[in-house]
């Protein structure tokens, strides 16, 4: 199996993703420059965090038109696994691969801290190694993580069990006070209807080694590996 980590101008979490996949998980991985119009031979594509195109206009608004995104779309349509982390999630939203949009954090601050996530669904390629309702400790670092979707869209997400992570307390309570950015219903991560594209605001690649304070990020990467084996 092979992972591909896309690099846009302004991406800055690509190296951490590459490092976790290659050096912590010993899996084949390559960088994919955003100008590549075709991608082939990959089983999972990672859209990493960062500030693609300086977040100009809107976060992810310009990156979604990079040549590589057509290839990513085709790859996703054929069922390939795609994980968008932070700016990657924002790009997937702008590209329409996931539904909804990101607004500025409610308190207008860039928030960089560990948060707790409740695993709402584990019947998918990204959380199959988690227990339902398991709490993961994963850091966030963003200014636009305030997820928004219209009423109908939210109903659809719920009906199709597409909400994968919600911000919660250390014991798993999903409440307003544990919502760092104002995201609708504390939503921190979602999958598409097909179940092969995940977007999440927190950074699993920043907590995949004990020395960094949490290894909970590994649940997500290892679930992907398990799915691909």
């Amino acid at each position: 199996m092979k992972f591909g980590v896309v690099v846009f101008p302004g991406s800055n979490c690509d190296q951490d993703c590459f490092y976790v996949i290659k050096d912590v998980l010993n899996q084949p991985v390559e960088y994919i420059w955003h100008k590549e119009a075709k991608v082939s031979g990959f089983d999972c594509i990672v859209l990493p965090g960062g500030f693609s195109y300086g977040d100009y206009l809107r976060t992810g608004a310009v990156a979604r038109f990079s040549p590589v995104m057509n290839a990513v779309k085709e790859f996703a349509e054929k069922g390939g696994l795609v994980i968008g982390i932070c700016n990657g999630f924002q790009i997937l939203l702008e590209a329409g691969l996931l539904l909804g949009a990101m607004l500025r954090n409610k308190n207008l601050r860039f928030i960089c801290e560990y948060v707790y996530l409740k695993v709402e669904e584990n019947n998918n390629s990204f959380t199959n190694l988690c227990e339902k309702k398991q709490v993961l400790k994963i850091p966030i670092a963003h200014n636009e993580g305030n997820y928004y979707i219209d009423k109908n869209g939210l109903e659809e997400l719920k009906k199709n069990k597409q909400i994968v992570f919600r911000y919660c307390s250390p014991s798993g309570e999903v409440k307003e006070e544990f919502n760092p950015n104002g995201a609708m219903e504390n939503i921190a991560g979602i999958i598409n209807k097909q179940g092969n594209v995940l977007g999440m605001m927190p950074h699993p690649e920043r907590c995949s080694e004990k020395d960094l304070g949490s290894e909970d990020g590994l649940f997500i990467f290892k679930s992907i590996i398990k799915e691909l084996v």
């Binding site: 206009l57 310009v62 949009a101 607004l103 500025r104 954090n105 308190n107 207008l108 928004y148 104002g182």
Partner: protein, 110 residues
């Protein structure tokens, strides 16, 4: 002081249009920036008159096109594809003729 206008060709003038595009958050979407600015205005004693503040964007485009109808279609497309996110933003724009800036070079004494 004036400069000669013989280099400004009326045909060239009409070839450019300027689009002023206003992009705003949809009313149903919360605007924390607007709220913060509202509080800031209230704190500098405008609290009696300020009811609401919403923050938006102004994008201006200069288009090398003289057909207003065609320009309207193109600007709409640009807004829908890139300039505005239809999930959270509304847009409106107006088109006005824009004098060709190259007419100010070469021509005329100061």
């Amino acid at each position: 002081m004036s400069f000669k206008e013989n280099s400004r060709n009326p045909e060239e003038e009409s070839r450019m249009l300027e689009a002023e595009i206003y992009i705003t958050l949809k009313k149903v979407v919360s605007d924390p920036q607007g709220l913060t600015i509202k509080h800031a205005l209230e704190s500098i004693s405008y609290q009696k008159v300020i009811k609401d503040v919403r923050i938006g964007k102004l994008i201006s485009l200069k288009l090398e096109i003289n057909d207003k109808k065609k320009a309207k279609i193109l600007v709409n497309e640009m807004c829908k594809k890139l300039l505005a996110n239809p999930i959270i933003e509304d847009y409106k724009f107006r088109l006005t003729p824009h004098p060709n800036p190259s007419s100010s070079k070469g021509g005329g004494k100061r």
